[in-house]
């Protein structure tokens, strides 16, 4: 059992996500930075689908009531065990009674804490991910609060205390201001100039940007759209389309561009103009409030290559720790 002494700004239980229910409006939820979540699990000998804690900007203080092997990955929140600094991206032994504490993220936004055996909250629709909008998954469907107690699953004994991820596999969260996007979906709604402006703009990440959506501020988007006679059922606004499904990572043009993240709405009537590549969604999860980002259009082959190369890297890390 892990007792929450201080919850931090927003700490939730997350895993790889809840799948198979998008058609009834259920977004995947799950760790915003899947890479950091997955590596955290491998380091302590877990499979990638074990649940970790996702911490945001300000980390929690946690008291362990049992011995455990843990690892912190993602944004560096200067983790400490009983006040003594412990390394990131490394399997660390904690003993019953130890307090693990986290400070503020100075680069990146989100840290992940894995525990050998995983955070063993009950599954809802085959996932432990927290989805706060309807209050399901994780610990009581919500952000952690002081006094919460989290059960830990039984460890498989694969963890090697002290084992660390190679520096080459640790992302640099200070340089994540260019985000790759595969343009498409409803981008035919943009004029050529509108598309150019969209891709040429430095968009600022708003302070509301969260697990639901990365809301961006910048120039007026209405002017980027092609005038047309609206099709039946779409509604009169030029940014409206007949309500359709939104991919996770797609950019919805609703007054401002909003990149739909893992707790987002699954569909709606605003034109989407492209989709952030799966690996850059992880980078976006670490992009800080008020930072400026630029979209770089890539073709699908480039996006697939980048994904395949990250998958290889993850397989390499998995093999190091789990075999």
């Amino acid at each position: 059992m892990i007792e929450v002494l201080e919850p931090g700004l927003s700490t939730t239980v997350q895993d790889t996500g809840r799948y198979g229910h998008y058609h009834i409006g259920m977004p995947p939820s799950g760790a915003m930075d899947q890479y950091a979540h997955t590596v955290a699990n491998y380091v302590v000998g877990n499979d990638e689908d074990a649940a970790t804690l996702e911490m945001t900007y300000a980390g929690p203080d946690l008291k362990f009531q049992e011995d455990a092997v843990v690892a912190a990955t993602g944004a560096d929140m200067e983790p400490k065990r009983n006040g003594e600094p412990i390394p990131m991206w490394t399997a660390v032994q904690v003993e019953a009674g130890d307090v693990l504490s986290f400070e503020f993220a100075t680069e990146g936004v989100r840290s992940y804490l894995s525990v050998a055996g995983g955070i063993d909250v009950p599954e809802v629709m085959e996932s432990r991910s927290t989805y706060t909008l309807i209050g399901i998954g994780g610990h009581e469907g919500r952000d952690l609060e002081e006094g919460d107690e989290l059960p830990v699953g039984s460890a498989n004994g694969n963890a090697t205390v002290g084992a660390a991820v190679d520096d080459g596999h640790v992302p640099d969260y200070a340089n994540n201001d260019t985000i790759s996007v595969v343009m498409g979906l409803c981008d035919y709604r943009l004029t050529d100039e509108g598309r150019e402006e969209f891709l040429g703009t430095q968009w600022k990440i708003s302070d509301e940007a969260d697990r639901v959506g990365c809301r961006l501020t910048g120039p007026d988007i209405e002017g980027m759209f092609e005038e047309r006679e609206q099709p039946f059922g779409a509604g009169p606004d030029p940014t409206n389309v007949v309500d359709l499904g939104y991919p996770v990572g797609s950019i919805q043009m609703a007054g401002q561009p909003i990149i739909l993240m893992r707790d987002a709405v699954t569909g709606g009537g605003y034109a989407t103009v492209g989709t952030v590549t799966s690996i850059d969604r992880d980078m976006l999860a670490q992009a800080r409030t008020h930072n400026e980002i630029t979209f770089e259009a890539v073709d699908v082959e480039e996006a697939l290559e980048a994904r395949a190369s990250q998958d290889e890297q993850l397989e390499l890390i998995r093999a190091t720790f789990l075999e």
Binding site: Y19, I136, V182, Y188, V242, G245, S250, S278, R307
Partner: protein, 299 residues
Amino acid sequence: MTNSIQRQELSSPRYEYGGDDHVFVELSEEMSFDANFEAQAITQEIRERDLPGIIEVAPANASYLLHFDPGELHPDDLIEELKALREEIDITEYTWEARVIDFPVLYDDPWTHEVMMKFRDRHQDPDSTDLEYSARINGFDSVDEFIDAHSGAPQMVTMVGFVPGLPWTFQMVPREQQIEVPKYVQPRTETPGRAVGYGGAFTATYPVKGAGGYQLFGRTPVEVLDVDQELPDFQDSMVLPNPGDILNYRRIDREEYDAIREEVEAGTYEYNIGTIDFRPEEFFEDPQGYNERITEVLD
């Protein structure tokens, strides 16, 4: 007035990449039963084929969305498969067992009325209610006639989403009889849960309270989402409506609203649900006659 559904040619579906792990297919830019039934037929077929790497299969109003693992499936191979599937499918021959659900609505209810009055400054016509405005722009002489039209023919669930359990429904009448309204100029920051609203050509029921931009017509006493799965009809899923279901909006009074609400809150309410083997061709030929058969399956 025509009494058949005019068929729509879906001449140029667009196959689009959604990053490296989604494919989005827009069958038509405009809404039609042809587009929706094809989206449902193709997604149904994809589910049955159980292709390796497919993670999500989500039909929408006139489009559909697939999420897949690019490590197992290349999007171009998937798109080829989808194009081939389209050649094979004839939606007039496609049938499915549709659930027909009685869906009581208290139109012009006090709760959505109170909320809409708070947000008149975000509306096209601040001096009318949403019902008055919608009735007028659709050529009805009174709100009463407008409500009769909205509840006068069943509606197909053409998409579920936005949030879990929210059904978009499309009335099963020829296009010239279909209601069309704009969304609010600026979305409201508040909508009561179970509010029944209208935007574009669709009715939607808000599962939980939250922001919203649809014109507010009324409120239902029944749930579309039951997270704790306490009501008997939610035993298998926390969400009631599924794409392909048919909702029959029924105008009720306050007394019936309160009575149903009491049963829902006690966890004893049982939905009035019938089933019909839905045949698009028969529906296209004689929607009025077919709709009568649909409503007859309800007790």
